[in-house]
Symmetry: C2
Subunit: 344 residues, 2 copies
């Protein structure tokens, strides 16, 4: 639905390398996406790698480029997305969030300017992977905030998708895939989040509660990876949970040891979102099409948002970290497809 060629870079002389992982919401009769746009300076020297970042020491903060010769012994190549230089990890592109609108949910017009761009010290490497939650008459945006200090999650809010209030970091590094539920549960706000361990490396889904959306606690493990399955290595909430009669429906991503990312569904107790009622035995969607298998980072389908109109759920997803795609499914059929036991 959206590819890098359709999107104007935000900086002169730059190129958009990826359009991916979009938050999605129904707004004023349209589908509104908050798309992640990853860009970088057009490469002019094949013998070097470049990391764009916000320099917080200049006033106002300005975009700065780190150039490293590929032959530099202090360079450790990562994958297309990142490299490590003198012990510090950098990204090869920097992301912001861009609004795209569509009446039919298929043909999108992308705005020419960023809606949410990096501005704070904790966003110096970029703003990524937004989720949009409509709650109490406003729209919350949780998004990944990346910097040399780590990968954290920040909160913004808006009433009109023109001006955004920024509310700072709500989860410290490393934490992403934060999705706030669209209503309070038992009097508190609730979200899913995906902390990551270092010494004990468990990439599982957790829930947290909050009295005010700013401060979070009561952390509880919700769901673990499944050894031997498509979601054996890491999992994280994708789209904002959808209330159904049978429970909260969550589209989540799972990756296996080969970093192949698929999408599945889970159903959780309406009163206790940390209690999992059912979970997809097989993925709903796996990388199969050429644009899902090859791209900026291949073999990935990853969602940050879905819309429900009537019985039709449209899952917007990033394919191969390069394209924004959509997949439609009947909500009833999806719910009927879920096994009765969460462990099967």
């Amino acid at each position: 639905m959206i590819s890098p060629e359709q999107v104007k870079p935000s900086q002169q002389g730059w190129e958009v390398v990826s359009t991916l992982n979009a938050g999605a919401i129904l707004y004023q009769g349209e589908v509104l996406l908050l798309a992640r746009v990853a860009e970088r300076p057009r490469p002019d020297d094949p013998d070097e790698v470049v990391a764009p970042m916000l320099d917080m020491l200049s006033d106002p903060p300005a975009m700065r480029l780190l150039h490293v010769r590929r032959s530099d012994p202090h360079l450790v190549g990562g994958d297309p997305r990142l490299f490590t230089y003198r012990g510090q990890t950098y990204l090869t592109s920097i992301s912001h969030l861009r609004i795209a609108r569509s009446r039919d949910g298929r043909r999108f017009s992308v705005e020419d300017r960023p809606a949410l761009a990096p501005t704070a010290w904790y966003e110096a490497f970029g703003v990524e992977d937004p989720r949009i939650t409509e709650i109490e008459g406003r729209y919350l945006v949780t998004h990944t905030a990346v910097s040399a200090h780590g990968i954290a999650t920040a909160l913004a809010s808006t009433h009109d998708f023109r001006s955004f209030a920024r509310h700072g970091l709500i989860f410290a590094p490393e934490n992403r895939n934060v999705t706030v539920f669209p209503e309070k549960v038992n009097g508190r706000y609730v979200c899913y989040h995906r902390p990551v361990g270092h010494h004990i490396e468990a990439m599982d889904m957790w829930a947290a509660y909050s009295p005010d959306l700013q401060h979070w606690g009561e952390h509880v493990s919700v769901m673990s990876r499944r050894p031997g399955h498509w979601d054996s290595a890491r999992i994280g909430a994708g789209a904002v949970p959808i209330r159904t009669e049978r429970g909260w429906l969550v589209i989540y991503h799972g990756a296996d040891e080969s970093q192949r990312y698929s999408l599945g569904a889970m159903l959780c107790n309406l009163e206790r979102p940390e209690s999992v009622l059912a979970r997809s035995a097989e993925p709903l969607l796996s990388p199969e099409a050429p644009y899902e298998v090859e791209g900026f980072f291949g073999n990935v389908v990853f969602t940050c948002g879905a819309t429900l109109r009537g019985d039709t759920l449209v899952i917007y997803y990033g394919a191969a970290d390069k394209f924004i795609c959509g997949a439609a499914v009947s909500l009833t059929e999806l719910l009927d497809s879920l096994p009765e036991s969460p462990t099967s």
Copy 2:
């Protein structure tokens, strides 16, 4: 001051391998330590490694042992403290917290039974590294909570150090070295914490704020590692911050790339604890004595607590992850020793 031989194991047939990292507070005219006690079954087969853990599937939760043959190809040895088996990291001992009391702050009597032992799913691998904060007429204990789900931080509280209320997890994995300030700052509770990244691996000190001690947010980076110094690889708050006329005084630990842990001091703005005013150029204390250099995990001095009586600050510290030691310093001399600039 305290060594493993002085401490009764909590389980029949077990041995205490380490007494270390004690929270410290002045209570009823005595120095009260909440000491971390690490124990394990007495090894009876040199050809296997054993991980003790709380089995949450039994009712009530019971201690269970994982035995792994050293020749097992799925075993990856870590260091004396841990190993990885089939992709999951386990600890070779399990810790609880034990009260020790002393009139003179030197000779301690250790209670025979644990004060805070693992009980919850997030403590299945142990309860570690407590900090004690006296605030608003009660005592808070923040402690590391370790399980297969990661290394997180939990909160407990007490009025009398006999019965403790447990308040669940306040920081999701991976996060430790959480120290709550002994008073509100600008109307909110505040703490230092030490999140750890995975994809961007920054082991730095952060601050967070809370309206109620249960829910935390407003995360802000406080202080980073210093390349080329004794605190180049990781840092974390040690003792609970002490209010002085010149600012909040914090004893913190720093490690270099060889995992040599030393202690230093930092001074922070009284109204804005995330603003660092000064920082030790050289360590206050480094592993030098034989009992600091060799032990369960050598070359470590690590603190969770200090007491101030008059001008004398006594820093209680774990040495080589095996012994509890104390070091006295004049508060005035310590403050005078700090350089004027935080970056020097």
